[in-house]
């Protein structure tokens, strides 16, 4: 099928799809007139029951914790998939000659300017602290495990972009990132099992809920921390997998 014919078919289908979408979306309640019961019950009961103030975080990790378990394992499986796809490629290249070339390129690669390195080394600890803050306060203010985990991985990215690649290659320990991610996922599952051990159902919130402030919410802060580890490890693994010897080889070759 030629591209023009494909475009014509798409145009017809798009008109039909647009009509269906508008008809379907027009059947929804008016924007702003939300009348659902589940959301109102949760918003009313979050603070009295769990003493934690972020209703979305408590919903994600406590009331709908099983969905988050599934989501975390989606992340794990996707990282495994990316690693499987990209590692198979790496083993097929000529090993010894490629390695010798790569070491040569690393030695010859120019470093970024010193002001950039200074900026990166100043910024990375700040971003790290910000990530830890976002993870730790996930049950009180907007934030939580996912957001904080990606911010933590971003600290690593800042280091890569601003310091020399040799420093990053020494720092880059893919095995450590994978271990961190696996520990995070395992931690979340163990929290669920803890609910079973405590005599109630899987993912039951079995830790005392506290009164106010940081130590509230029961298992929610623990789940935040484990998810933060898992996501930080996952994103760091993904970025490290895509940065590879090919990158260094081509830069030196020009």
């Amino acid at each position: 099928m030629t591209p023009r014919a494909r475009l014509a078919v798409f145009a017809l289908a798009a008109v039909g799809l647009a009509a269906l979408l508008v008809w379907g979306l027009a059947g929804l309640p008016r924007f702003g007139d939300y009348e659902g019961r589940y959301g109102r019950i949760i918003a009313r009961d979050t603070v009295p029951q769990r003493k934690a103030t972020d209703a979305v975080g408590v919903t994600t990790f406590d009331y709908r914790g099983i969905d988050t378990l599934g989501e975390e394992f989606i992340l794990l499986v996707s990282v495994v998939g990316v690693m499987a796809l990209l590692r198979a490629h790496r083993e097929e290249t000529d090993e010894s000659r490629a390695r010798a070339q790569e070491l040569e390129r690393i030695r010859k690669a120019p470093l970024p300017s010193e002001s950039l390195t200074l900026l990166g080394q100043t910024l990375a600890p700040i971003v790290l602290v910000l990530g830890i803050y976002v993870v730790a306060h996930g049950h009180l203010t907007p934030g939580g495990g996912f957001q904080g985990g990606v911010v933590l991985a971003a600290a690593l990215l800042v280091l890569y972009l601003t310091t020399g690649r040799t420093a990053f290659r020494r720092l880059r320990a893919v095995a450590a990132f994978e271990a961190v991610e696996a520990l995070g996922a395992l931690g979340y599952a163990l929290i669920g099992v803890g609910g079973l051990i405590a005599g109630a159902q899987f993912l039951h919130n079995f830790i005392p809920h506290g009164h106010s402030g940081l130590l509230t919410g029961g298992t929610v802060p623990l789940a935040n921390v484990s998810v933060g580890f898992a996501v930080a490890g996952a994103i760091a693994t993904l970025l490290s997998e895509m940065l590879d010897q090919d990158l260094l080889r081509s830069r030196g070759g020009r």
């Binding site: 702003g32 996912f146 957001q147 971003a154 895509m242 590879d244 081509s250 020009r254």
Partner: protein, 89 residues
């Protein structure tokens, strides 16, 4: 429906069109990063700060980083193949 929400919705619509219409992948990664930021602002206007934070962090940070790395990886591979073919000529 406040004015801010209406303006942000229209900007998001235009941003989506810009992302799809930018053909060069490197430029598109940058436009996608801006689109993620606009979406984050829209989610703030919809009273969803958690989701906005997540969208900004994922759509403006992790996604463009992965896209640029994938582009670099495909270009590096193509250059390495050219290099490997040269000694045989």
């Amino acid at each position: 429906m406040t004015a801010l929400q209406a303006v942000l919705l229209i900007l998001v619509g235009a941003g989506g069109l810009a992302v799809a219409a930018t053909r060069d992948p490197v430029r598109q990664a940058l436009v996608a990063s801006l689109f993620g930021l606009l979406l984050g602002a829209l989610f703030f206007a919809f009273q969803a700060p958690d989701v906005a934070l997540s969208q900004i962090v994922v759509g403006s940070l992790a996604l463009p980083a992965m896209i640029l790395l994938a582009i670099a990886r495909t270009r590096a591979r193509a250059a390495a193949d050219r290099q490997r073919e040269e000694p045989s000529e």
